[in-house]
Amino acid sequence: MRLAGWGRYPVADCALSAPRDTAALAGLVAHGAPLIARGSGRAYGDSAMNRTHTVSMRHFDRMLGFDDDAGVLKAEAGVILGDVISALLPRGWFPAVTPGTKFVTLGGMAAANVHGKNHHLDGGISNFIDWVEVMGADGAITRASRRESSELFDWTMGGMGLTGVIVRLAMRLRRVETGWIRQQSLAAPDLDAAMAAFDAGRDAPYSVAWIDCLSTGARLGRSVVMLGEHAPLDRLPMRFRRIPFGPPPQRRRTVPFNAPGFALNRWTVSAFNALYYRLGTRRTGTAYVPWDSYFYPLDGVLGWNRIYGRRGFVQFQCVLPEAAAREGLRALLQTIAAAGQGSFLAVLKKMGADRGRFSFPMPGYTLALDFPVSDKVLKLMDELDRITLDHEGRFYLAKDARLSAETLHAADPRAGDFASMRRQTGAAAAFASLQSERLGL
């Protein structure tokens, strides 16, 4: 069937199967031809695609137990994060790390070692995964943790499904008193101000910024920086205390057609400007926001990925090390603004250290932005790759759809180690995606 990632680029004919249990899964692994696991297909590019053998984890969708004292959930890898929130937030637990959509699977989160707005303090999801059970090339299941089979654990976090299929895992959640976030927003007139705001807000549990990519010159990097924390019950405004875990998830609106590419950007850019100017008068603003709209603003619009039209879209996401970040970000933003390729907003986030032998984050700044696919955009992306390379940055594979093997290996010497580990363990012969083939992993 025709399969694609969230960006709907690239599209390829992939044979998709959905085993119902580990025995059936082992049968597929034993079959010989390499396969790749697929969760919700929320990675943007071709990470969860394999022409001859893509394996949907949708039947591995059961929560297997929850320890109410330690906050540890045992679950099959195909469980959807949003279902975990629905089940456990009413009991006072929230995911310790969450990406910007709740429609991902737990297996997909582990495989990408996803990061959230708290990465600068807490690191990626791998820090909250006690163990994973991975089906390897021989069809046997190994439990890997920091203590047992720790090599396998470290390669699997951020290993993009290329070490084996995660069938079950144990994930620690965080205790919260409410489902509300106390958000503080600051208007930053330029990049230096934005970076200063991240430094000043280093103790805030959550932080992220929207950057206006159209601003140039003295206003380059003009942004709104948003800090957040889980609101304790006694700080919550009275009118919200009746519903401490927030209103139920937003009603969904569906985007029914392949809208022209500018629609979403026009919407976001005007939302940005409205916010910026509202803040501009006061410089800062505090608001109580329900968890769903704080963490998952786009989940309310089902199928928003179609808004970019038939050719789909690509996301560029890199991380630049602290020392080179200021200069590198400036170069990236200048190039993006000069190209005028219809990306109006970018997300900037300060990252901390992380574990995982091949996972994306490192201390520094990560920049992410979407572009509608076109030949010009693909050229621009090459240019952004080069700037990232020059500043010793890395690329996020969960967003990637078009990086070259050469660039990846130049940017990240760990890629070579990863590939040779895969050859030695037999994983290379059993697990492969269009992405791993393209990138020589």
Binding site: R62, M63, F66, S86
Partner: protein
């Protein structure tokens, strides 16, 4: 919101589990009955965790009538709603040549489900309340060459449910007949089903919940199947017999 227990017979089926989730989400306790109840342990934990309701597992074989009364006595409580998703499609070609195979299909779709639901109906009648849900099929609306052994058993089951509804009208006991069209489940895995006519099990679960609450008598899931089957039923037999659909 909460409600009385929902018994699902044939609970290992995708449709049965989806119905269990739909009712558990509304606070109903769930009784899962199947031939291999041990294999439902993960599903039990999952249901209980997601919805915070009590879930129990029970051994049940629709083709073992001798065990039915004991089975019903062993339930923690007589359920408020009993749903039967037991069914077996078999292989049409095999059913044409092997009488034992055909009998298994007929018994699994008609005799077994009608037998157990009949006993439950009597208990509901004695109590004066309850809802019975039978999962039949559009295949029972008209016999077709490709699956008439299965279809005829479903036709028998549909007629039986209709008669039961007639008998119990006015007693406070409600009978719902569910006729799914294609559903993407283990039963239909590997078949090339038309996407627009195929429902996900979750959709069947939600449809059954709504229909129970609205006290509907007969539902098709997806509703377009009502139209499809009305057309198929209207074709004169002289023409129908030459068609291959």
């Amino acid at each position: 919101m909460s409600g009385g227990a929902v018994l699902v017979l044939g609970a290992r089926s995708d449709i049965g589990l989806a119905i269990a989730h739909a009712f558990a989400a509304e606070g109903h306790a769930i009784q899962l009955a199947a031939r291999n109840p041990g294999t439902l342990e993960p599903a039990r934990t999952d249901l209980a965790l997601r919805h915070g309701v009590e879930v129990t597992l029970h051994r049940f074989d629709a083709l073992d009538p001798a065990g039915h009364e004991t089975f019903l006595d062993s339930l923690p409580a007589l359920p408020e709603i009993a749903v039967c998703t037991v069914g077996f499609m078999g292989d049409q070609a095999e059913s044409e040549t092997d009488m034992a195979a055909a009998r298994l299909v007929m018994r699994s779709n008609f005799e077994g489900p009608a037998g157990i639901l009949g006993l439950i109906a009597n208990r509901f009648e004695a109590r004066g309340s309850g809802t019975i849900v039978g999962i039949s099929s559009v295949a029972g609306d008209r016999g077709r060459a490709t699956n008439y052994v299965y279809g005829s058993a479903k036709a028998g089951f549909s007629a039986w449910l209709s008669g039961l509804r007639n008998r119990l009208a006015g007693t406070g006991i409600h009978v719902l007949t569910v006729k799914p069209g294609f559903v993407a489940t283990a039963m239909t895995e590997g078949m090339d089903l038309p996407a627009r006519l195929t429902a996900e099990p979750d959709a069947v679960g939600r449809a059954v919940l709504r229909a129970v609450r609205a006290r509907r008598n007969v539902i098709y899931v997806k509703p377009v199947w009502w139209l499809v089957m009305a057309v198929i039923r209207a074709i004169p037999e002289a023409i129908f017999k030459k068609m291959r659909i």
